[in-house]
């Protein structure tokens, strides 16, 4: 079987033409039981929404078409084995952490990880050793981990089981993966890569090195982000040092037993498309992104950053498909530009934080949409720009960790007004979503700086979440 095949898709096509009579779930029976939904999504879509059955295999115990599809994906990504994941990349990240660390074992990671990684620490009871990712002050963003810091982290924690790297970051910053792998392996640690934003590294030309190519042990790849599969579908890639049967059990702890065939087929077809056409797809993506970056940088006020940030340390490489734009010199917070783009110009970008917006560019774009984004940014600058004064711009505050996330999350807690909580230890998360990097994680000291940051982000219109109090005026703190 080669990359031109898509086993799950082919089995579903056959299933469709066999006109099987269904006395199994789902109860909508090809859409007949829910007319409005069928009108909305289309009959073809509803008829592909089936349950696992012998000819279609079972995600929790794959022996035929899903096994074949996963094997083809492993080959396409240069991995030893591959798991299709339908609970989002969140589940893939959690499976990586939970299959490498048990309760009480240490894992080295930068603090600017996605919430899914810290959630995994709450579930598993693993202990984080945070590496300061370093900040670019002008852009207000966290960078990659420098190898010196990792070396230090490893020497101080020789008992750590694994190192988690987010590569690339949402903004496109890459760490020195090859060296991290070498360092970790020489100390018997596994390397886990949150590669949610890096699907294209495996298929495009002149891309930063991918996790599997760098020799990492596991990687979580959001196929749905830049790979073209449906939202919530994801891949977990494993190298040869990993017991993949154990990984499958770990995934099974939390993953649904009713995996959606819409998601599975989308992974199968997206993999086929990337294998056959990925080079061209990402060539076009880079061309769009580079053009947009050039034009946006000529508008003034905006800074669409790229490879000039590379210092071969905390910015080892940059992913040029990411169109990250710093808005600081327009006097507008990124989140303000994000809101104006959507509300006034009908343009939805991926996220806006205090100092930046991120536009996702893909081969699905047309030159016209790129022109719209550039001209709308120009208009926003012309109409709304002001003196950049009093702007809070850093999006990362290095935390003081008092308790492990699991201990803090499950300890006795009391609720109190956020503004009075200075000096207390947080019992819950606070984050702006997207990008979903926690401002506060359970077990971290609440500082005046963090309280000011949250107030400022709220005022600028960031969507803050994570606390039990939906209005985020109160916070649960650890008792005592």
């Amino acid at each position: 079987m080669d990359q031109r095949h898509a086993p799950i898709y082919e089995a579903l096509e056959k299933h469709r033409s066999d006109r099987i009579v269904h006395f199994d779930v789902p109860g909508h029976k090809g859409g007949r039981g829910n007319k409005e939904l069928t009108d909305f999504l289309g009959e073809k879509c509803l008829r592909a929404d089936v349950n696992s059955m012998k000819p279609l295999d079972n995600l929790n115990h794959p022996v035929s078409v899903i096994k074949d599809a996963q094997q083809l994906a492993a080959e396409a990504f240069g991995a030893n084995s591959c798991f299709f994941v339908v609970n989002g990349t969140t589940a893939a990240v959690q499976a990586m952490v939970m299959s490498s660390c048990k309760a009480g074992e240490k894992i080295i990671m930068p603090r600017n990880v996605h919430i899914s990684a810290i959630n995994a620490l709450i579930l598993s009871g693993a202990i984080p050793v945070y590496i300061d990712p370093g900040i670019n002050n002008r852009l207000g963003i966290a960078l990659g981990m420098s190898t010196d810091d990792i070396k230090k982290g490893i020497e101080e924690n020789p008992d750590a089981r694994a190192i988690l790297v987010n590569n690339p970051t949402y903004y496109g910053i890459c760490s020195n993966l090859r060296e991290i792998v070498e360092l970790a392996h020489s100390h018997n640690m596994l390397v886990l890569v949150d590669e949610a934003h890096g699907t294209h590294f495996y298929f495009g030309d002149d891309m930063p090195v991918s996790a599997m190519e760098a020799g990492a042990d596991m990687a979580s790849v959001s196929m749905h982000k830049t790979g073209g599969s449906l939202t919530q579908s994801s891949l977990l890639l494993c190298g040869e040092n990993v017991n993949c049967d154990y990984v499958r059990q770990i995934i099974g702890l939390t993953q649904t037993t009713s995996a959606s065939y819409l998601l599975l087929t989308s992974l199968d077809l997206a993999r086929k498309n990337l294998s056959l056409n990925g080079r061209e797809i990402f060539r076009k993506t880079v061309e769009f992104a580079e053009y947009a970056r050039r034009e946006i940088n000529s508008l003034g006020g905006y800074y669409a950053f790229s490879k000039e940030l590379v210092d071969y340390d905390s910015v080892y490489d940059f992913d040029v498909t990411k169109l990250s734009i710093n808005t600081r010199d327009t006097g507008l917070a990124g989140i303000e530009v994000y809101d104006i783009l959507r509300d006034d110009y009908g343009i939805q970008v991926e996220f806006g934080d205090l100092g930046n917006i991120l536009a996702i560019v893909s081969a699905g774009d047309r030159a016209m949409e790129i022109e719209r984004l550039i001209s709308a940014l120009y208009e926003i600058k012309r109409l709304y720009s002001r003196e950049p004064k009093g702007m809070l711009d850093h999006n990362y505050i290095n935390p003081e960790v008092v308790y492990t996330p699991q201990k803090a999350f499950y300890s006795e807690k009391k609720i109190m007004p956020l503004r009075d909580s200075k000096g207390r230890v947080s019992g819950e998360f606070v984050m702006a979503y997207p990008p979903g990097i926690p401002v506060l994680a359970p077990g971290e000291r609440i500082t005046g700086e963090i309280i000011d940051y949250i107030a400022y982000a709220k005022e600028k219109g960031s969507l803050l979440m994570g606390t039990q109090d939906m209005r985020m005026e109160n916070i649960l703190v650890v008792e005592g």
Binding site: Y345, E371, R372, I374, A376, Y378, E379, R382, L383
Partner: protein
């Protein structure tokens, strides 16, 4: 042989013209281009299945796009025309000696080639020395321009397909910036009758109003456009299309078939339901 061209106005209403002879059918990078001859309307240009113009009634559209702003300010000398691959607007503009420069920006070169060859009635003045043709996206062109034109004419197709960026707030904003202080923008403004056209018209009006201090709508009757009732937008940085109309245009002695200055004053008077659509935009 019974060969008909049909355009669907909605799922339940359609308009058909009997085809006498097909002339040419091409696929460009952006759209499908068809030209055919008909007994009822003469030669017809169709883009992506939507009728763009017919030989018999194109004069109405092109005169109304051009002479309304030119009569409000007969001193206009620098004009930017977006779209207009058929050349009809250019033909009307070329009648004015005061016009010194016409920059025409059409995204699809093949449309211009086809019109030069098969629609000389509209394309006849594309070789006027004052005309500079740029084959690129209108939005991309206009966003690089600052304080350069007295008039921008947006002769776009519909708010879907290759011309959809010409119905956006960022486009109108960049047109504003490209205009000089006494600048005028005129645009094809869809029809108020069928619901989807009416929605596009409302959206465009709302956006233009948010950009230009003067944003009005005028109308004409065009037999081969959906519902026959067509709207145009008149937006300016200050000039009023009626108060600033004086005897200068009549003294030019230009020959027109639809436009005259009496009609000019009347065409800004709109039916009540259209006024309501605009108010609720």
């Amino acid at each position: 042989m019974d060969l008909w061209f049909t355009e669907y106005y909605t799922k339940n209403a359609r308009f058909s013209i009997k085809i006498d002879k097909p002339v040419i059918s091409l696929e460009s990078e952006f759209q499908r281009i068809d030209v055919f001859d008909s007994c009822a309307f003469g030669r017809v240009l169709v883009l992506d299945g939507y009728l763009m113009l017919t030989e018999k009634d194109e004069f109405i559209y092109h005169e109304m796009m051009t002479h309304i702003p030119m009569a409000v300010n007969p001193e206009i000398s620098d004009v930017l025309v977006i779209g207009a691959g058929d050349g009809g607007v250019i033909r009307e503009l070329a009648k004015y000696d005061s016009v010194k420069r016409i920059d025409m920006v059409e995204i699809d070169e093949m449309v211009v080639d086809v019109c030069r060859k098969y629609l000389p009635q509209t394309a006849c003045r594309l070789d006027d020395p004052r005309v500079n043709i740029y084959f690129e996206d209108g939005l991309k062109f206009v966003r690089r321009k600052n304080n350069e034109y007295d008039l921008v004419i947006v002769d776009s197709t519909d708010p879907f397909g290759p011309g959809e960026d010409l119905f956006t707030k960022e486009f109108y904003g960049n047109c504003y910036k490209a205009l000089k202080e006494a600048g005028i923008m005129v645009n094809q403004h869809e029809s108020p009758y069928y619901p989807n056209d009416a929605k596009a018209m409302q959206k465009a009006h709302k956006q233009i109003k948010s950009v230009f201090p003067v944003a009005l709508i005028y109308q004409a009757h065009i037999p081969t456009y959906p519902s026959g009732h067509w709207l145009f937008g008149f937006a300016s940085k200050g000039l009023d299309p009626i108060a600033d109309l004086d005897g200068r245009w009549d003294s030019l002695g230009l020959k027109t078939r639809y436009y005259n200055t009496e009609l000019h004053k009347g065409c800004f008077a709109l039916p009540t339901y259209v006024k309501e659509l605009m108010e609720n935009a």
